[in-house]
C-alpha cells in the first residue's frame, strides 16, 4: 500500500489551497475507527490485557505458582477477594489475581501464534486460488470446504489427543485448522482485484506472478484479512479456554483461564465463587475486546458498508 501522502485534489484543481495534509487510506480508516466509541472500547480492553500480560511480574505481588499454604498455613486456602488478594486464593493458597494476569499470556500467545499460522496459510492459498483460477482454484476451494466441514472443537481435541503433548503443536494444530475462513475471504477479494486495470498493467509490463500478487494484489486485500484475523482471535481464545476447561489444553500448573474455571467449578456450588468467576470475566473481556475492535475495523476499513 502506498503510504506517501497524495496531493490534495482541490489544490490541483486550483481551488484555494488549504493547509490540510493529504491522508492515506490507512489514516482515513484510523480516523473513522477513532470516532467509533465501541471500537475504541474494544481497543482499550485488548491493550490493557496485552500490557497486563507483558508486565505481569510488575503488577502481581505473588508468583502464579506460589502456594501460600506452605508459608501461611491452611488459612491461605480459598480466601475470598480482599485487599491482599484481589481475586481471592485457590485451594492451594495461590493468588488468583496473579493466575488470571499470567493466564492472559497463554490466551494471547495462543491467539497470536495460531492466528499468524492461519493468516500465512490462508493468505497464501487464498491468493493462489483467486489469482490462478482453474483447477488450482477448484482444488483449494475443495480443501476449504472440507476443512469447514469439521467440527472445530472436536477436530482440535482429536489432533491434540493424537499428537504428543506440546504447546507448539497445539498452536500449530489450531492454526492449521483455522485458516479456511481467511483463505475464503482472500480468494474472493483477489478474484475481484485481479480484474482491475492496475493489475492488468502490472502483468502487461512483464511483472512476475509472485511480484504482482505480493506488490499489487495483496496490499489491496489486506483490509478484510485484518478484520477476519481480529474477529478470529476471539474464537481462538475461546477455543483454548474450552480445551483447557476440558483438561486437554495447557498443562498445569501453568495458569490458563479455562483451566481455572474448571478447577473452581466444584467450589462454585459451595459458595466460593471467585475461583471460577474472575477467569470467566477475563475471557469475556478479551474476546469482547477483539470482537468490538473487529466490528469497528470492518466499518472503518470498508466505508461503503452502512453506518
Amino acid at each position: 500500500m502506498e503510504t506517501k501522502p497524495v496531493m490534495n485534489p482541490r489544490t490541483a484543481a486550483g481551488v484555494k489551497a488549504d493547509k490540510r495534509e493529504g491522508r492515506s487510506l490507512w489514516m482515513d480508516s484510523w480516523l473513522r475507527l477513532k470516532r467509533n466509541k465501541m471500537a475504541m472500547f474494544g481497543l482499550f480492553l485488548v491493550t490493557v490485557i496485552i500490557l497486563a500480560a507483558i508486565f505481569a511480574p510488575f503488577i502481581t505481588k505473588y508468583h502464579p505458582h506460589e502456594q501460600l499454604i506452605w508459608t501461611e498455613g491452611k488459612a491461605a486456602q480459598l480466601q475470598p477477594p480482599s485487599a491482599k488478594h484481589w481475586f481471592g486464593t485457590d485451594i492451594y493458597g495461590r493468588d488468583l489475581f496473579s493466575r488470571v494476569i499470567y493466564g492472559a499470556r497463554i490466551s494471547l500467545q495462543i491467539g497470536i501464534a495460531s492466528m499468524a499460522i492461519s493468516v500465512i496459510i490462508g493468505v497464501t492459498l487464498g491468493a493462489i486460488a483467486g489469482f490462478y483460477g482453474g483447477i488450482v482454484d477448484d482444488l483449494i476451494s475443495w480443501l476449504i470446504n472440507v476443512i469447514f466441514a469439521f467440527p472445530f472443537l472436536l477436530f482440535v481435541l482429536a489432533l491434540v489427543a493424537y499428537l504428543p503433548p506440546s504447546m507448539m503443536l497445539m498452536y500449530a494444530a489450531i492454526g492449521i485448522i483455522n485458516w479456511a475462513s481467511i483463505a475464503r475471504v482472500v480468494r474472493g477479494q483477489v478474484l475481484s482485484v485481479k480484474e482491475k486495470e492496475y493489475v492488468e498493467a502490472a502483468v502487461a509490463l512483464g511483472g512476475k506472478d509472485f511480484r504482482v500478487i505480493l506488490k499489487h494484489i495483496l496490499p489491496n486485500v489486506l483490509a478484510p484479512v485484518i478484520v477476519q484475523a481480529t474477529l478470529g482471535m476471539g474464537d481462538v481464545i475461546m477455543l483454548e479456554s474450552a480445551l483447557s476447561f476440558l483438561g486437554f489444553g495447557i498443562q498445569p500448573p501453568t495458569p490458563s483461564w479455562g483451566y481455572e474455571i474448571d478447577q473452581g467449578r466444584q467450589f462454585l456450588l459451595s459458595g466460593q465463587w471467585w475461583w471460577s468467576i474472575f477467569p470467566g470475566f477475563a475471557i469475556m473481556s478479551l474476546v469482547l475486546g477483539f470482537n468490538l475492535l473487529g466490528d469497528g475495523l470492518r466499518d472503518a476499513l470498508d466505508p461503503r458498508l452502512k453506518r
Binding site: A149, F150, F152, L154, G280, M284, V287, K306
Partner: protein, 309 residues
C-alpha cells in the same frame, strides 16, 4: 428445480470424500502402535499380531485407505477399543439426548435471534437496538461453559428452581439450562446477522415502493423485507446447528449429561481412537448434510436461485 437439487448433491460428494480422507490421515499420523495402545502392557506378541491382522493394519496404506473409505460410506466406523461396541451404535445411543438439546436450543435461538434482529433493524439506533445488540455481543464473547456454570449457580443453588445437573429422573426440567446455555451463542449470532441483513434490505428500492404503496409496517417488514433478508440467516442457522453438536462437548461436561459430547471426552481420555475418529467423521458428515439442506432451502426464499445456478 430438480437440476438444482442434483447439482447441489453432486457438489457435496467431493467434500464428503475429502472429509473421509482427512479423517484417515488423522488416524495414520498417530505416533506409536494403535494395537499396543489399546492392549496396554498386557498382550503377548502373538495376540497383538492377530489383532493387527484382524484390523487390517498389516496391509499396505493404500489398501487401508480404500477399506476405510468403503466402510465409512456404509457407516461402518469400526469398534471401540474399550468395550468392543460398534462405533455407530455407541454414537446412536448417545445422539438422541444431544440432538434433543441441540435442536431445542436452535429453535429458541432462531425465534429469539430473528425477533431481536428484526426489532433492532427496524428501530435502528433506539435504546432497544443498542440494548439487544450489546447483549448479543456479550453472548458471543462469553465462554459457553462459564455461562452454563453461572446459570447452575443461579437457578439450582441460589433460586432452587431446577433440581440440579445430570438427567435426574428424565424430566424435561433438567434440560432447560443446557438448552439455554447452548442456545445463547447462536441466538446472539443470528440476532446480529438478521439485523445487518435487514438493514441492507430495508434500504432497497422495492421496500421504498412497498412503503409508498401504503402497506402497513407489518406487511413491509415481515413479507417484503424479512424473506429477502433470510438467506444469510438460514446459512448461519445451518452452520450453527452442526457446530452446536460439537459445542455439546463443553455443555454436557458442565451439566453432566451423557450425550455424544461426553462420549468424545471419554474416548479422548481413554485414547479410544475408533470412537474419536468415528465422531469426527459423523459430525463432519452432519455438517455437510445440514449445509446441503440449507442450500436446498434457498429457492424457498429467493426463487431466482434455482434458475441461476
Amino acid at each position: 428445480m430438480s437440476t438444482y437439487i442434483i447439482k447441489r448433491l453432486l457438489a457435496a460428494l467431493p467434500v464428503i470424500a475429502g472429509v473421509i480422507a482427512v479423517v484417515f490421515i488423522l488416524t495414520t499420523i498417530v505416533p506409536g502402535d494403535p494395537v499396543r495402545l489399546m492392549m496396554g502392557q498386557r498382550g503377548d506378541p502373538a495376540t497383538i499380531e492377530r489383532i493387527k491382522e484382524d484390523l487390517g493394519l498389516n496391509k499396505p496404506l493404500w489398501w487401508q485407505f480404500l477399506d476405510f473409505f468403503r466402510r465409512a460410506l456404509t457407516l461402518d466406523l469400526g469398534k471401540s477399543y474399550r468395550n468392543n461396541m460398534p462405533v455407530t451404535r455407541a454414537i446412536g445411543q448417545r445422539i438422541p439426548l444431544t440432538a434433543k438439546i441441540a435442536l431445542s436450543a436452535m429453535a429458541i435461538a432462531v425465534i429469539m435471534g430473528v425477533t431481536l434482529g428484526i426489532i433492532s433493524a427496524v428501530r435502528q439506533y433506539s435504546i432497544l437496538d443498542y440494548g439487544s445488540m450489546f447483549v448479543a455481543l456479550l453472548g458471543i464473547s462469553a465462554p459457553t461453559f462459564w455461562v452454563g456454570l453461572l446459570l447452575v449457580v443461579l437457578f439450582c443453588v441460589k433460586l432452587g428452581w431446577i433440581p440440579g445437573t445430570g438427567t435426574g429422573d428424565g424430566s424435561w426440567i433438567y434440560l432447560v439450562l443446557p438448552v439455554i446455555t447452548l442456545g445463547i451463542r447462536p441466538a446472539a449470532l443470528i440476532a446480529r446477522l438478521t439485523r445487518s441483513s435487514m438493514l441492507e434490505i430495508i434500504r432497497q428500492d422495492y421496500i421504498r415502493t412497498a412503503w409508498a404503496k401504503g402497506l402497513s409496517e407489518r406487511v413491509v417488514v415481515m413479507k417484503h423485507a424479512l424473506k429477502n433478508a433470510m438467506i444469510p440467516v438460514v446459512t448461519i442457522i445451518g452452520i450453527q446447528t452442526a457446530t452446536m453438536l460439537s459445542g455439546a462437548i463443553v455443555t454436557e461436561r458442565v451439566f453432566s449429561l451423557p450425550g455424544i459430547g461426553r462420549l468424545s471426552v471419554e474416548a479422548l481420555i481413554n485414547r479410544d481412537f475408533p470412537v474419536i475418529r468415528g465422531e469426527v467423521l459423523f459430525l463432519a458428515l452432519i455438517f455437510v448434510f445440514t449445509n446441503l439442506l440449507v442450500d436446498l432451502s434457498y429457492p424457498l426464499f429467493d426463487p431466482r436461485i434455482k434458475y441461476d445456478r
